[in-house]
């Protein structure tokens, strides 16, 4: 049902490769983003290189504006520069505007009907190139090339992994009355475009979890009666139950290398955490305490798993080794802690905290149990998952109208921002860096 990502061919740009990333800055650094340019003879019409160049520049600025580390200036029509100036910018002009970084680039139409998109990132003060990237794309794929340009600038400025803007978000799209919802698994590009459905709404579905490169998706389905985890392969559009069992399986999550899935299985009144190969095999039981152990999430190195357990009488966060040994509690702040998700950089664990009389809020805590911070103000926030940058969290927020929507918030603070989806949205899941 879902077409895999369209082809995006890297092309080599004539100068030498990038220099190492600049040192990390605490405050947002200004990056000038003047409009990408075109060769002089370019088609100025709609769908031509000039139109794509303008749209691509707006998308790059929008990507960078969504980060805590970069503050884009532009694009402004008056800041046009010539094609040769792409690789020889007038640095003094940007220095005077207070820009620390500069992104230039071009869109050129090729004889085969495709476009070449090239981007360059400079450190303005030293007049030094920090990196470059180029792609030959079909007309429909310029957005992906633009996201790669954003990633280049973000990497040059912060040292964070490239590719974080060209990622995907899975969620549950909800329609219908609040007591009789129709739920469908949806996947969209992380810029909100290219939304498509994975399930058709004939069965209740929950908690989609993309594999790190978004080639597979695990989710919970009520098809056939008992809730159970199903896995979709987007290459073949085939799907299958994760494990053959008549019992309830739920709460799937991939390891960061995509080879394993941690999940929960109910037996009688008891629920425990298990792990199984992403391609199948015999599940291994990791917890054995009476009560509910669920919501497992791997550390990025795959050696540990954070999960929630009510073995102490209320839901709390625990960490164990990936073989189930060394289980120990890390949350002690009062109230209930649930839905843990380990950040891609390993530094933080996001969670939902239920505080009696207050509601639910999302927060972060370090794996050693220190540094706890509540990020969202509630009163009905839950299901956090990490942006691939490890600097933002996407979560579900239920409004006063009782309708769920997706929101994102920076871990450095500030207001949550709504993530626009065509229908109501719940259970968000953000992929890793795809390529």
């Amino acid at each position: 049902m879902i077409a895999r990502l369209a082809s995006l061919f890297p092309v080599s740009l004539s100068l030498l490769a990038a220099t190492p990333a600049a040192a990390q800055e605490p405050a947002a650094a200004v990056i000038a983003v003047p409009p990408l340019t075109t060769p002089d003879n370019s088609d100025r019409g709609a769908g031509g290189p000039a139109a794509i160049a303008w749209q691509a520049t707006q998308l790059i600025a929008s990507d960078l504006r969504s980060t805590a580390e970069l503050m884009p200036v532009g694009p402004n029509q008056k800041d046009y520069y010539s094609y040769p100036e792409v690789t020889a910018p007038t640095f003094s002009r940007w220095r005077n505007q207070g820009a620390k970084f500069l992104l230039t680039g071009f869109v050129r139409s090729n004889s085969d009907g495709r476009f070449t998109v090239g981007c360059y990132v400079y450190e303005v003060n030293r007049g030094r190139e920090l990196g470059r990237i180029g792609f030959a794309v079909n007309a429909d794929d310029w957005r992906r090339a633009a996201h790669k340009c954003s990633g280049l600038a973000y990497t040059a400025a912060t040292g964070a992994p490239a590719g974080i803007f060209d990622t995907q978000i899975a969620y549950v799209a909800e329609t219908g009355g609040l007591t009789s919802r129709t739920k469908r698994i949806a996947v969209m590009d992380s810029d909100g475009t290219n939304q498509r459905f994975v399930t058709v709404g004939d069965s209740l579905v929950l908690t989609p979890r993309l594999s790190p490169k978004a080639g597979h998706l695990a989710y919970v389905s009520f098809v056939g009666g008992q809730p159970h985890i199903r896995v979709v392969d987007f290459d073949t559009n085939q799907q299958r139950p994760l494990v053959p069992t008549g019992g309830m399986t739920f709460a799937p999550r991939y390891s960061s290398d995509g080879t394993r899935i941690v999940f929960s299985m109910q037996q009688g009144p008891n629920t425990d955490v298990y792990v199984v190969g992403a391609d199948g095999g015999l599940p291994q039981r990791l917890t054995a305490s009476p009560g509910v152990d669920t919501s497992g999430s791997f550390s990025p190195d795959g050696n540990q798993i954070v999960f929630e357990s009510d073995r102490s009488g209320s839901q709390q966060l625990y960490i164990m080794n990936a073989d189930g040994t060394g289980q120990h509690r890390i949350s002690f702040g009062g109230g209930w802690y649930a839905d843990p998700a380990w950040s891609p950089d390993g530094q933080w664990i996001a969670y939902t905290r239920r505080i009696p009389g207050v509601g639910t809020r999302v927060g972060i805590i370090k794996p050693d149990g220190t540094g706890e911070q509540l990020l969202s103000i509630g009163p009905a926030d839950e299901s956090p998952d990490w942006a691939p940058s490890s600097r933002e969290i996407i979560f579900e927020r239920t409004g006063a109208d009782l309708r769920p929507a997706l929101a994102r918030i920076s871990i450095t603070g500030g207001e949550a921002r709504k993530v626009v989806t065509p229908q109501d949205g719940s259970d968000p899941d953000w992929s890793g860096v795809i390529d």
């Binding site: 209740l204 109910q266 629920t271 509910v292 929630e308 649930a338 839905d339 939902t352 239920r354």
Partner: protein, 163 residues
């Protein structure tokens, strides 16, 4: 006339279902002699009879709890009495959590509540083979809102006659 009698059945059903709701006052019972003959057939007739005789198809739980309260036990004793007389009826016990719970935990809690009811019915002599369980987690909310009374009405296990 048929229409009037049908409404009477519905009233009786609504009355029975609300009997155990926390915070709601019981309405006055129907006048003596008003009990209509059942017009329903098959599983619908069985369901109506079950509701009328067991008093309620639902039991309710405390926050984060799957412990059966004395009123819940009384309801299940009445359900068990009916189920023992109808061993041919297949029953699914559906457990629910309230919307203040988190998604994954709610599934586990719904299962635990359904399992608690199943175990109690088996203890009371209902054949285990007659009973299956299912958790809806925090899906299919019965009463909207985050007020404590609304949440309490969603923390439930429903005994559903399947066939």
């Amino acid at each position: 006339m048929r229409r009037a009698m049908f409404f009477a059945v519905l009233l009786l059903v609504a009355e029975a279902a609300s009997a155990q709701l926390p915070g709601l006052r019981r309405r006055d019972p129907l006048p003596p002699g008003a009990q209509p003959a059942p017009l329903l057939i098959g599983i619908d007739a069985l369901r109506a009879d079950f509701l009328a005789r067991a008093g309620a198809d639902k039991v309710y739980f405390g926050g984060d709890s799957s412990v059966l309260t004395p009123p819940a036990q009384a309801t299940l004793q009445a359900q068990a009495a009916w189920l023992r007389q109808h061993p041919e009826v297949v029953v699914r016990i559906e457990g629910y959590a309230d919307s203040s719970d988190t998604r994954d935990h709610a599934l586990a809690v719904g299962a635990r509540r359904a399992e608690e009811v199943r175990s109690y019915l088996v203890l009371l002599g209902v054949p285990a083979a007659q009973l299956t369980t299912l958790s809806w987690g925090k899906e299919k909310i019965a009463v909207l809102g985050s007020a404590p009374a609304a949440l309490a009405l969603n923390r439930r296990a429903v005994t559903v006659l399947v066939r």
